[in-house]
Symmetry: C2
Subunit: 463 residues, 2 copies
C-alpha cells in the first residue's frame, strides 16, 4: 500500500524527512513537497560566505537541487505556498506563487511541517524599504547580491542590526565587499546570547580590528527611507547613513500556519514534538503529523528547558529522525546542548552547554574557570593562542558549559567538550581524558585538560 507524504518546506528539515522516508519505503511512498522559494536543500548558514566572496558560486550552497530530488522520486513543487492544513480531512491547501490561480488541495497520510523560521521584525522594520534585508533564505542572499551589484547606485555604507552570530558574520561579509560597516547591538556586548561578557569582550575587540564600527547598547528608532530605498538608520544618537541595512535581530519559528490549523505552540513559539518528532497536540502526539527544523522547539538537555535553536545541523537530524519513523524505522531526537561555532575574521568562537547567564537562569549554582593556552605545542610552528572557559556545577562538578575564543584550530575543540557535556561528565573526571597529543596538534596538556584542571580546583575551593 502506498503512503502519501506531504512536506511543507523544502529545505533541510523537510527534504531530509522526505529523502529518508523515500529511502526506506521506496516506491511505496508518494511524496509531495511544497516550497515557497526557488530552491531546495540549501545551506542558509553559507549565505554570509557567499555574500563576502569566500564562496563564489550560489549553486555550491545547494546540497540537492529540485531536479535531483525529483529524480529520486520526490515531487517538489517550487514557488508554492501552503495556506491551510485541514487535520480532520487530512489535506493541505496550497497555491502557486508563480502562476496565481485556484487552490490546490493535496491529501496526506503523513504530513511533515518544516516551514523554518522568520526574522524577528521590530515595529520600525514592518514596512521595509528597498535595501533592507534578512538573511534567512537563499532568495534573501540573491536579493542582497543583486542590491550590492546594482548599476543604479553605489552601495558604500552598510548598517547591520543585531550582533549575534549572523549579524557578525554579515558585518564581516560587508567588510570583505569593501563597504564601511556599522554593527548595532542593543545589549552591552556582541554575541551576548552566545558567550559570557568576558569572552564577548574578546569578540568585540576582534570585530573592531576589522574596521567595523561596533556600537553596543544601541537603540534603533527607525529607518530613513527615501525614494523607495533606505538611506539611513535612525538612532537616538543620530541617523547613520546606510545604503544597505541587514537585519540580524534573530528569528522565530514560522508557525502561523500550524497555529491556524489548531496545533498548540510551546513557550518558545515553536511546535512541540515527541522524541520521534511527532507533533504534539493538546491531547498528545498526533498520528502521522511530524515537524522538523527551525519551526520546532526542543529540549535543552542541561537546562531541561524548552528552547528554540534554529540551526541547520538540528534541522537535518530532526528531518532524518522524522523520515526514519515515517518509513517504519525507529529513531529519536533527544534534544540539544546548545553547541555553536563561528568565525569572526581569524577569530574562532565556540560554545556548548550553558553560558553563565543561562546556568543562572536554569537555577544552577556554579563556578567558572578560564585558561589561556595554545592550539599546538608552544614550540611548534603555528601554535595559536586560545582561551577556554568552563562552567561547572558547585558540589557535583558537572560540566554545565564551555566557551572557546581563539585563533586557528580553536573552535572545533568544542566538540570534545560537547561530548563531555552530553555525557554529564564532571570536570574532575575530564582531567583524565585521553585526548590526542602530538606537538603539531596540542600541547602535552591539551587546553581542554588544563581548563578541566582549573575548574576542578575551583569546584574544590567552592566546597
Amino acid at each position: 500500500m502506498t503512503t502519501k507524504l506531504v512536506v511543507i518546506g523544502g529545505d533541510a528539515g523537510g527534504m531530509s524527512a522526505a529523502s529518508q522516508a523515500r529511502k526506506l519505503l521506496k516506491d511505496d511512498l508518494d511524496a509531495v513537497v511544497f516550497e515557497r522559494g526557488h530552491f531546495t536543500s540549501y545551506s542558509a548558514c553559507g549565505i554570509p560566505y557567499w555574500i563576502g566572496g569566500a564562496v563564489t558560486d550560489r549553486d555550491a550552497l545547494i546540497a540537492r537541487t529540485p531536479a535531483e530530488h525529483r529524480a529520486n522520486g520526490i515531487d517538489v513543487r517550487l514557488r508554492h505556498e501552503v495556506v491551510g492544513i485541514d487535520l480532520d480531512r487530512r489535506e493541505v491547501v496550497a497555491r502557486s506563487l508563480s502562476s496565481p490561480g485556484g487552490e490546490i488541495r493535496e491529501s496526506f497520510d503523513q504530513l511533515v511541517y518544516a516551514t523554518g523560521a522568520v526574522p524577528v521584525t521590530p515595529p520600525w522594520a514592518r514596512e521595509r524599504g528597498a535595501g533592507v534585508f534578512g538573511v534567512q533564505t537563499l532568495d534573501d542572499g540573491a536579493a542582497i547580491h543583486a542590491w550590492l551589484d546594482s548599476a543604479d547606485f553605489e552601495v558604500r555604507r552598510a548598517v547591520v542590526i543585531g550582533g549575534g552570530y549572523i549579524g557578525v558574520e554579515m558585518a564581516e561579509a560587508m567588510v570583505q565587499r569593501g563597504l564601511q560597516v556599522t554593527l548595532l547591538e542593543k545589549s552591552p556586548q556582541p554575541m551576548r546570547a552566545t558567550v559570557d561578557p568576558d569572552m564577548g569582550a574578546l569578540v568585540h575587540e576582534a570585530i573592531e580590528k576589522q574596521g567595523i564600527d561596533v556600537r553596543t547598547d544601541a537603540h534603533v528608532d527607525g529607518l530613513d527611507l527615501r525614494d523607495g530605498r533606505v538611506r539611513g538608520v535612525v538612532t537616538p544618537a543620530g541617523t547613520l547613513a546606510a545604503d544597505i541595512v541587514v537585519l540580524g535581530i534573530g528569528v522565530r519559528p514560522n508557525t502561523a500556519l500550524a497555529e491556524r490549523a489548531g496545533l498548540p505552540l510551546g513557550p518558545t513559539g515553536g511546535l512541540v514534538t515527541d522524541l520521534r518528532m511527532r507533533v504534539c497536540g493538546d491531547d498528545g502526539p498526533i498520528d502521522g503529523v511530524w515537524a522538523a527544523g527551525d519551526c520546532v522547539q526542543t529540549i535543552h538537555r542541561i537546562s531541561k528547558r524548552a528552547v528554540h535553536v534554529p540551526l541547520g545541523t538540528h534541522a537535518n537530524k530532526q528531518g532524518r529522525v522524522a523520515g526514519i519513523n515515517i518509513g517504519g524505522g525507529y529513531a529519536t531526537f533527544p534534544g540539544v546542548i546548545g553547541t555553536a561555532v563561528t568565525k569572526v575574521c581569524e577569530l574562532e568562537v565556540a560554545r556548548t552547554g550553558l553560558t553563565s547567564a543561562e546556568a543562572e537562569a536554569a537555577g544552577y549554582a556554579f563556578v567558572t574557570a578560564s585558561v589561556e593556552s595554545t592550539s599546538r605545542a608552544g614550540y611548534y610552528p603555528g601554535a595559536a593562542p586560545m582561551t577556554i572557559k568552563l562552567i561547572a556545577e558547585k558540589r557535583t562538578g558537572l560540566l554545565l558549559g564551555a566557551q572557546i575564543v581563539g585563533r586557528s584550530e580553536a573552535a572545533k575543540r568544542i566538540d570534545s567538550l560537547a561530548v563531555a557535556v552530553w555525557n554529564r561528565m564532571t570536570v574532575e573526571e575530564m582531567t583524565a581524558l585521553d585526548l590526542g597529543y602530538a606537538p603539531p596538534f596540542a600541547p602535552v596538556w591539551d587546553p581542554v585538560l588544563i581548563a578541566a584542571r582549573k575548574a576542578t580546583d575551583a569546584v574544590h575551593a567552592a566546597g
Copy 2:
C-alpha cells in the same frame, strides 16, 4: 614535619610528581630528583620536529629547566644514575656520571619511580656502531643533530628501522634534512599498531609520496659497520647503504632497577600501580612508593587489558596524580583508551579505542564502518578530505574504536570520538550528538556524525 621525596628520572612523570607535591606541601617537602641525562621536563615527542627543522631551538623543547625546578625548591641532580633501591631501609643509591666517585645514599619517605622507557634492541643492534640512534631522550636528539652536522663526512642516506609513528616521523624529518630515506617495517604496513590495514594503506601512500622508499615485510639481519661507523643495513634482499640509522622499533619500560629492588612487573614489563599511582608489590600497594610515565603499565578501559602506552600526555597526568596524592590530596589515573595522533607530511592520522585487531584480540564481536567526508562544508574554501572508520560492538553498538586519516583539521576530530569511547556511547546515540557546525568548520553533518550513522546501520544489519 618535612617529607623527604626522592624522584628517579627528571622528565615528564617525575618532574610533574615533584612539582605537584611541592605545590601542595611547599617547604614541608624536601625533594631530590636524580636524572641520568642533561635535561629535565622536555618534550621527547618534539625531537623529530627539531631534527627536521620545524623547531629550530633545542631549548624550546624544554618545558622547565633544572634551574627553574631548583628555583622552585626542587633539588635536581643531573647526570646522576640511581643504581639501587633499598625498600627496607628506604633509601636509594646513586652515582654521578660526570664525576665518578663514591656512591651517594639518599633516604626517602616517598619515592617516585619515573625512569621512562628504553628502546627495544634486537640482537644485531646490541653492539651499535656510531651513526645508529634511538629517539628516546633529548640527548639522543642532540647526538643525531651532531652526526648530521658532522664536518668529517657527508650524511646522505638514512635508513629508519620501524614504521610506527616515531619511525614515520623520523623518516619525514630525514627527508626534510635533504637525505635519501628508506623506511623498513617488518609487518605488511606502516603504523600497523596504530591503524587498521585499510587506513594504513592511506598512510603508506602518503609516505611514499614524500619520496621515502618504504619497504614492508622487511627483515633486518644486521648492520654493516666499518671503521667505527655505520655504512649500511644488511637485509635478506641485500645491503642498504646508510650513513645514519634510526631505530624506531619501539620501547619497553625501563624497569631493571625496580626489578632488582624486588618490585614485581606486570605482563607488559611495566610497573603495576593502583589508581593513585602507588606501586603494587606482591602484597598489594606499597606505602610511599609511586611510579609514573613510560615505566608503568596501565589499564586499557575498553579491552580491560594491561597495556604499556609510552606517551608524554599519560606521563604528565600520572606524575600529577602521584604528586597530588603525595601532597595529601586525592587524585586517580583511571586508565587509557589508546588515543594517538600524528602527522605524516600533510597527512594527519589519529586513532582512539581499539583497532580491529585489538578488538578481535580482546574478544569483541564487532562491525566497522568507513566514510569519506570533508573538514569543512564542501563549498567552503579549504575543505579537505578525510576518512573516518568506526568500530562498534555487535548487538550493543558500543563504540569500541575510531580511526581518522585526512588532511588539515582531521586529526583532532579524534577527541570527540575519544570522549565518546570514554563514556561508552553507542554509535546510535552518537548520531544525535550536538557537535559544532558552521561552514568554515564542518559540513552540516560532521564527518563524525556521518560515520556514526553508517556504523548504526552496520550494527542493525548485523542484528
